[in-house]
Structure formats: structure tokens, C-alpha cells
């Protein structure tokens, strides 16, 4: 009996640990203030990329959409710099990341989405397409 109990505890511990260390794919689009200079934009992007990296995440893809018109005004702004980040991380990180976005005054809107298997397939395809276009 004692052995069995130990085994069960061990197994449960493993399962729980596995769940905690489960990595997910995420995608974040954020919009930055249009008043910023190029250096400031790079700085803000680097801030979030390094934030993800320091919290055991890996950034797979970055995409700069540039200055785009907003379809409605956000904080009295009609345009904004769009930026896309694809990354793999634990679920715990997302809450902290959102707090960082909230505290940063240079970011006016952000949206983080968990990618399911179809979305992941699509995003990888899209990534490859873009890289092929760049080469050609």
C-alpha cells in the first residue's frame, strides 16, 4: 500500500508539473502612438520582445505593418503603428504581458490571442509566404 501511495503521488506530481510547463502559441497585435519616432518604436518593440524572452518565452516571428489608418479614433488618434508578434510561452506570462502593455503609454491598443492547431498551421503558412516574397 505504501509503495502504491508513493507511486500515485509521484505520478500526480508529474502530471501537474507537465500541465504547468505546457507551452502555448500566442499572437499579439499592438498599436503604437503615431507620434513616435522610428527609434522609439524600435525601443518599445524591443522592450516587449525582451520581456517575453526573459520570462522563458521564444519569439518566432515579428512583423511590422507600419503606419496604418484606424477605422475609428482611439484616444483621439486616427493613425497608428501596427506590430505583430508570434511567440511560444507559458500561459502565466500573458497576464504580466498585458499589464506591461497597460502601463506603457506608447501603446494605445493590444490584442493577444492563443493559437489553436488550425490557426498555428495558418500562421506558419503565412510566415513562409512572407519570407518567400521577401527573397523574391
Amino acid at each position: 500500500m505504501n509503495r502504491l501511495n508513493v507511486f500515485i503521488k509521484f505520478a500526480a506530481h508529474k502530471i501537474i508539473n507537465f500541465k504547468i510547463s505546457n507551452m502555448n502559441n500566442y499572437e499579439t497585435v499592438f498599436i503604437m502612438n503615431p507620434v513616435l519616432s522610428e527609434d522609439q518604436i524600435k525601443e518599445t518593440v524591443n522592450k516587449f520582445v525582451s520581456f517575453i524572452k526573459t520570462h522563458k518565452g521564444t519569439v518566432n516571428h515579428e512583423e511590422n505593418w507600419g503606419l496604418k489608418k484606424l477605422k475609428y479614433t482611439i484616444q483621439k488618434k486616427k493613425t497608428g503603428f501596427y506590430y505583430l508578434l508570434d511567440f511560444v510561452s507559458e500561459g502565466k506570462l500573458i497576464n504580466n504581458l498585458e499589464v506591461e502593455f497597460k502601463r506603457d503609454e506608447r501603446v494605445i491598443r493590444w490584442k493577444t490571442i492563443k493559437l489553436d492547431k488550425f490557426a498555428l498551421e495558418y500562421s506558419i503558412k503565412r510566415r513562409n509566404k512572407l519570407s518567400n516574397n521577401k527573397k523574391a
Binding site: V29, I31, K71, I74, Y82, I113, Y122, R126
Partner: protein
């Protein structure tokens, strides 16, 4: 009497349109609807920016749900408007 009979000798031609609606996503094999692609989502909106009903677009329920989520996400990141007139 004779004149009325003549009218019904030839059956009246009624054009039967065979425009069966179908789900584009099922037919094209699209499994994930991208919320970042505004031009594509625009096909499923009317010119006020509202999502068109299934009875007009012919989407299956599964993809209508996914479409609605994609449109709402696009609105949140200001790619699509919440309210508009003359969108198209």
C-alpha cells in the same frame, strides 16, 4: 370557353433558378478565418459594417460562428469599424 382553354394548353414557363447556397469555407477547405485580413472579412459585412446573416451568405453554422469571432477581433484592433456608412 374556348379562349380560356387555349391559355392553359401550354404550361406557363416559370424560370427555376438553381442557385443553391453553399458554405465557402467548407468548399474551399478554409479551416481558420484570419482576423487580420480585413479585405476578406469585408465580403461578409453589409455597408453599415454589420455581419451578414447565414441565410444570405450560406455559411455553415460552424464557420458563421468562427467568422463572427474573427470580425469582432478585427474590430477590436481597429481594422474594421464598429459602425460605418458606405463601407463599400
Amino acid at each position: 370557353m374556348a379562349t380560356t382553354d387555349v391559355k392553359y394548353l401550354n404550361p406557363v414557363d416559370i424560370e427555376i433558378k438553381n442557385n443553391n447556397k453553399y458554405c465557402r469555407f467548407k468548399k474551399m477547405g478554409i479551416k481558420y478565418i484570419d482576423y487580420k485580413d480585413a479585405d476578406f472579412l469585408m465580403r461578409f459585412l453589409n455597408d453599415q459594417g454589420k455581419i451578414l446573416p447565414r441565410r444570405i451568405t450560406g455559411n455553415s453554422l460552424k464557420f458563421q460562428r468562427k467568422l463572427a469571432i474573427a470580425v469582432k477581433r478585427a474590430r477590436q484592433i481597429a481594422i474594421l469599424p464598429y459602425v460605418a456608412d458606405n463601407l463599400k
